[in-house]
């Protein structure tokens, strides 16, 4: 491995840890969620570095993408509790 690669892995790892710490302990919940999405995106990079392109693709789509969207949607619902309840009728 070249020096560049060492540097890259080192920096990536430290950034991942930093984003994880923010995703868990950031002051604002919204910031925490954004950090988590960022973590998912950078994780994809880490998977590529670990020669796991399958996981990279899935992580980018699932970990960052879908989970991020789910978290943001949940955040929205928690913070705008008045505008839900479109219809209470029960279906089958």
């Amino acid at each position: 491995m070249t020096l560049m690669e060492y540097l890259f892995d080192g920096l990536l790892g430290i950034t991942l840890i930093w984003l994880a710490a923010r995703a868990v302990f950031a002051q604002s919940l919204f910031g925490a969620i954004l950090s988590f999405i960022g973590l998912g995106m950078l994780m994809a990079l880490a998977w590529v570095r670990l020669s796991a392109p399958d996981v990279a693709l899935a992580e980018a789509a699932l970990g960052g993408g879908v989970t991020g969207a789910l978290l943001l949607a949940a955040y929205n619902r928690l913070h705008h509790p008045t505008s839900n309840q479109m219809n209470q009728q029960d279906g089958h």
Binding site: A21, R22, F25, A26, Q27, P53, D54, A56, L57, A58, A61, L62, G65, V66, A69, L70, A73, A74, N76, R77, H80, S83, N84, Q85, M86, N87, Q88, Q89, D90, G91, H92
Partner: protein, 227 residues
């Protein structure tokens, strides 16, 4: 960072637990042998009989296909949990609109559908496959749901429920069919392995995408016609 007020006892417990577990893990990982081939050799040796050329896909859908069968059922179970918790709620009063968003959706959706097909096909010989393709398609679904929900017009109908269970159901039916044919669950006849895997993957992609989009909306949709 940090700052909710924690009870000192909780903090103490947390610090002790986390320190001990971290040290144990580092100890364990440090003690692992630095070389381990794992099952690479076995996977490559049997790849020729698996019906696909990509190793990860071969493991997921053939060698350890039973895990994957249960796993798509896990996804469906999560959906059912949400489904029976109550009806669908609109997240904001109006969809996100605007010229930029609108054009983006018009452009991106077909592109994402194309890419989904490509990734699914890619799975047979390179990085890709049903999960990645399904997640991508779900991304398109979420985007449309946010900007132009009327395109999807999610309704609780027999057809929609059929779409949700298609992946797991095809998987189970193939497993049961193989059991009746060859006497062993999920043992594909070698010449048909590739097409059976593709069938399972295609159905799973659609179901995964539908389920993930549904999960994003956070509840059961309203009943529509045809139910």
């Amino acid at each position: 960072m940090v700052i909710e007020r924690y009870r000192p006892f909780t903090v103490m417990v947390a610090v002790v637990v986390v320190t001990v577990s971290t040290l144990l893990l580092v100890w364990a990982i440090g003690s692992l042998p630095p070389e381990s081939p794992g099952l690479s050799a076995q996977v490559s040796a049997n790849l020729i009989n698996s019906g696909v050329q990509a190793e990860v896909t071969a493991v997921l859908l053939n060698f350890r296909g039973y895990d994957t069968l249960l796993e798509v059922s896990v996804l469906l179970t999560a959906l059912l949990g949400v489904w029976y918790l109550g009806p669908f709620h609109i997240t904001s009063d109006t969809p996100v609109r605007g010229l930029v968003m609108d054009n983006m959706v018009r452009f991106l959706t077909p592109v994402m559908i194309l890419v989904t097909g490509y990734v699914l096909w890619l799975g047979s010989h390179a990085a890709g496959g049903a999960f990645q393709a399904g997640a991508l398609l779900a991304g398109a679904g979420v985007l449309v749901q946010v900007v132009r929900p009327e395109w999807l017009a999610l309704r609780d109908s027999r057809t929609f429920r059929g779409l949700l269970i298609a992946g797991p159901a095809v998987f189970v039916l193939v497993a049961a069919g193989m059991m009746l044919l060859s006497g062993s669950m999920l043992e594909y006849p070698r010449e048909h392995a590739g097409s059976l895997i593709l069938l399972i993957e295609a159905a799973s992609t659609l179901s995964i995408a539908a389920i993930l989009t549904m999960l994003f909306t956070g509840g059961r949709p309203h009943p529509g016609a045809g139910n």
